[in-house]
């Protein structure tokens, strides 16, 4: 709640920056007048003129300083350069400020002798005040610029995260490779002639499968049960194409079905198993999926046998890298995926913690 009001104040301040600036000088002017009038015993007329002239002048010069500060980026300039820049900036500012101020006041308060003495006596004090004002203004300007940049940066980052998520979704969807779809449609085309009931069954499965990938949840999280259902739909469809060449075995420990895991994390693994196992071997390929809860972590193993003689077109490993990346993003550790490969068996071992970070 407090955070929100703070942010609101900052937002309002930012919207009316010019007004705030003028208000600041009005307040300073009032203090100035009060000091001269009751502190130094300067007469009201002279105190008003002094306050208005010097504060209005500094307000004008200070507004110009804004541009100067904007083009002297703290990050890119060297310290010595910056010091020289502001030393000369301060000198010119104070010289112009006091020079013009004294000129005006000497002219309009020509008759006031006491005031003239007062002006002369307070010169060194005014120089010190000028330096302070300069330093204060420049500091505020730098803070403002910094704040703006920070905000822009966070906006950019938010936008980037959005883009990333969209890219991730697209990536997940495109993993349903088109040739899988076309080959399945070809099988359906054949079944319409030989076994219409099975053709219908396959159309329904294919539709359900596609629908899942089109309606991924915003949270990008799912449960083992849902993921499993999706994967089994996929395997059912592939089984129609490859019949005896695909054997699927699963062993799911009761109680693990409700465990949360990233959406579409199993699908690419199973697809890989089909691609490098079934597609490349004329003999039956065994694909296995095991899941159990162990030590507060969901333990999943996806494995497949493969033909050691098949010289498979080497994969680029992007699929597995993507999974690794997603797990790292969600759980903050890169130790959740392990790959085991023997002469004719390939296994990916995932460990999904209870909570994402």
């Amino acid at each position: 709640m407090i955070m929100r009001t703070d942010r609101q104040i900052i937002r309002n301040l930012k919207d009316h920056l010019e007004l705030v600036y003028i208000l600041m000088w009005v307040v300073l002017g009032a203090i100035h007048f009060f000091l001269l009038f009751s502190g130094y015993g300067v007469n009201a007329r002279a105190a008003i003129a002094d306050s208005i002239v010097f504060n209005a002048l500094f307000a004008l010069i200070g507004a110009g300083l804004w541009n100067m500060v904007r083009y002297s980026d703290l990050q890119t300039r060297k310290l010595g350069e910056l010091a020289f820049y502001h030393l000369s900036g301060a000198t010119v500012t104070i010289f112009a400020w006091l020079g013009i101020g004294y000129l005006i006041l000497n002219n309009i308060l020509e008759q006031d002798f006491y005031y003239h003495v007062f002006l002369k006596d307070t010169l060194s004090f005014r120089i010190v005040t000028g330096v302070m004002f300069y330093a204060l203004l420049v500091t505020i300007y730098y803070l403002l610029i910094n704040f703006r940049e920070l905000k822009e940066k966070s906006q950019r980052e938010a936008k980037l995260t959005g883009l990333l998520k969209e890219a991730e979704l697209n990536m997940l969807r495109s993993q349903i490779r088109p040739h899988f779809l076309f080959n399945s449609l070809n099988s359906i085309s054949a079944l319409t002639m030989t076994d219409p009931a099975r053709a219908q069954e396959m159309v329904i499965k294919l539709s359900e499968f596609m629908r899942y990938t089109l309606n991924l949840p915003d949270s990008m999280m799912s449960t083992l049960e849902k993921e499993l259902h999706h994967v089994e739909l996929y395997l059912d469809i592939e089984k129609v194409r490859f019949s005896d060449r695909l054997i699927f075995e699963k062993s799911i420990e009761p109680g693990s079905e409700t465990w949360k895991l990233p959406v579409m994390i199993l699908q690419p693994l199973i697809e890989n198993s089909v691609k490098y196992g079934v597609y490349e071997s004329s003999d039956p390929t065994r694909i296995s999926l095991e899941a159990r809860v162990d030590d507060g972590v969901l333990d999943i193993r996806v494995g497949n046998t493969y033909d050691p003689e098949a010289i498979t077109k080497k994969g680029t490993g992007t699929g597995l890298k993507n999974i690794q990346g997603r797990l790292l993003n969600l759980y903050g550790t890169s130790t959740l995926m392990k790959i085991k490969s023997s002469e004719n068996y390939f296994e990916v071992h995932l460990r999904i913690p209870k909570y994402a970070r």
């Binding site: 040739h179 080959n183 449609l185 070809n186 099988s187 597609y279 098949a310 010289i311």
Partner: protein, 252 residues
């Protein structure tokens, strides 16, 4: 022109074969002589049955449709059937009769068959022995894909040699002898083809008649001026020309 076109259907998915067979059943003048599910069976069946036309899938286990075509002799007319459209150009470069994208209609298949029928009758009419696929070799060579395996044939036996198991290649007239862990195999290709298509971080042409797999080098010694003798882990010794030795040194 024979009265019937004899066809073999080659596809690793049985439903895909069923579909083509069902489509062909109703068409007069066509006979399905056989069906098979992989390239190894297909080679034998083509040699035994000498069909006029193949319906050939591209993606199959172990050796794909293009690789099968490479070792087929004689080469029948080919209609490719596949779900991948990115192979179409390559298929036509191989003078395929047609390229059917799965799933396809019966009408589309009839169209393809009509083209094949025309080509076949032209061929018989002119008693021209050279089939449309005879310049295949040349065209495969134009394909710039890097090799991962080499398919060789001895009679009706196909051997798939992964490139990393090749020790060296030796030119042998119009052929290249491939010396590998799997034995010696002849392949009807040029040395230039292999020089261009074998992974060049692994293979170096050390001589006009030798290409070497650098991971099998056991030792190098100076033989005579400008000639080095390279011994392999297999026990073979190969001579490297001055230029070949220079290429080898760059690679090592």
């Amino acid at each position: 022109m024979p009265d019937k076109i004899r066809v073999i259907i080659i596809d690793d998915e049985s439903l895909a074969r069923d579909l083509v067979r069902k489509y062909l059943e109703g068409i007069p003048g066509v006979e399905v002589a056989g069906e098979c599910a992989n390239g190894f069976e297909a080679l034998k069946m083509v040699q035994d049955l000498k069909p006029d036309l193949l319906f050939l899938d591209i993606q199959m286990p172990k050796i794909d449709g293009f690789e099968l075509l490479e070792v087929l002799d004689p080469k029948p007319q080919i209609i490719f059937t596949t779900a991948f459209d990115q192979y179409a150009i390559r298929a036509f470069e191989m003078n395929a009769v047609d390229y059917l994208l799965k799933p396809f209609s019966k009408e589309r298949l009839e169209q393809a068959l009509e083209k094949a029928r025309k080509l076949l009758s032209d061929k018989y009419g002119q008693s021209d022995k050279s089939g449309p696929l005879d310049n295949l070799q040349q065209q495969i060579e134009d394909d710039k894909k890097q090799l991962e395996r080499v398919i060789t044939r001895m009679g009706s036996k196909i051997t798939v040699i992964p490139v990393e198991k090749i020790w060296y290649l030796e030119s042998a007239d119009d052929y290249v002898m491939i010396h590998s862990e799997l034995g010696n195999h002849l392949k009807e290709k040029t040395m230039k083809y292999f020089e261009e298509h074998l992974p060049n971080d692994q293979f170096v042409r050390i001589h006009r008649s030798h290409i070497l797999n650098i991971s099998y080098i056991a030792g190098i010694e100076l033989y005579e001026k400008d000639t080095h003798l390279i011994s392999l882990k297999s026990g073979d010794k190969l001579r490297a020309s001055a230029e070949g030795y220079k290429r080898l040194k760059e690679r090592l």
